[in-house]
């Protein structure tokens, strides 16, 4: 059972380049999330999705885009990379059914450096 899989694990970008961080889950979870964690800080929500075709902004969405065409996949797109986007990015998912609160399952993260 793979859970939440993120690729790549590491990436170095030059300023202005673009890239897509991939996230896929095999748990049939309806909710998916993207967080970023800066050094010494907590995780901040970038975007989330409550199901295929539905996405919404979190706390820090500027500079990012997402799409959710399938239940399994939730890619995060950086269009014009900036040094401020140097961070560790975590994808997470959970199943929200009758139990309103269920814990998030996280991937192992993508460490991105923009220089």
């Amino acid at each position: 059972n793979a859970g939440v899989t993120q690729t790549p694990k590491f990436r170095i970008l030059k300023i202005g380049q673009s890239m897509t961080l991939q996230c896929t889950q095999d748990m049939n979870h309806n909710y998916m999330y993207w967080y970023r964690q800066d050094p010494g800080m907590g995780l901040k929500l970038i975007y989330y999705s409550v199901g295929a075709g539905i996405t919404d902004k979190g706390e820090v969405p500027n500079g990012y885009n997402v799409s959710r065409s399938t239940t399994e996949d939730f890619p995060l797109r950086l269009e014009l990379a900036a040094p401020s986007q140097t961070s560790v990015y975590f994808c997470a998912s959970r199943y929200r059914g009758q139990a309103l609160n269920s814990p998030l399952h996280f991937g192992n993260g993508t460490r991105l450096t923009v220089t």
């Binding site: 909710y31 907590g42 309103l100 993260g109």
Partner: protein
């Protein structure tokens, strides 16, 4: 402004003793609280949670206490083991939301043999 605060960046404890990690929150709308544990180069993993209708939840060596009037929760680990050495994040969510979690900055626990 931080809605979830973990004021101790680090904590060092001897193996076998109790570890107490603290968390304060400011938003009175939060009604569900979780603790996550994170090892280096891995994603956070869920540890234990508590609803605001309770003041204590226990799972093996881990107990979370909630003091709503003080807007304070704590995680107790008894007895502490070297494998517990990790960063612990406190998180909270307001009721009726999409369950979006607000995280604290984390506390790095070191359990010394």
């Amino acid at each position: 402004d931080q809605q979830v605060k973990q004021n101790s960046p680090s904590l060092s404890v001897q193996e076998g003793r109790i570890s107490i990690l603290n968390c304060d929150y400011t938003n009175s709308m939060f009604d569900y609280f979780l603790w996550y544990k994170k090892y280096p180069a891995e994603g956070p993993t869920f540890l234990i949670s508590i609803s605001s209708i309770k003041d204590k939840n226990e799972d093996g060596r881990f107990t979370v206490f909630l003091n709503k009037s003080a807007k304070h929760l704590s995680l107790h680990i008894v007895p502490s083991q070297p494998g517990d050495s990790a960063v612990y994040f406190c998180a909270a969510t307001p009721g009726g939301s999409q369950g979006n979690l607000i995280f604290g900055k984390g506390t790095k626990l070191s359990v010394k043999p």
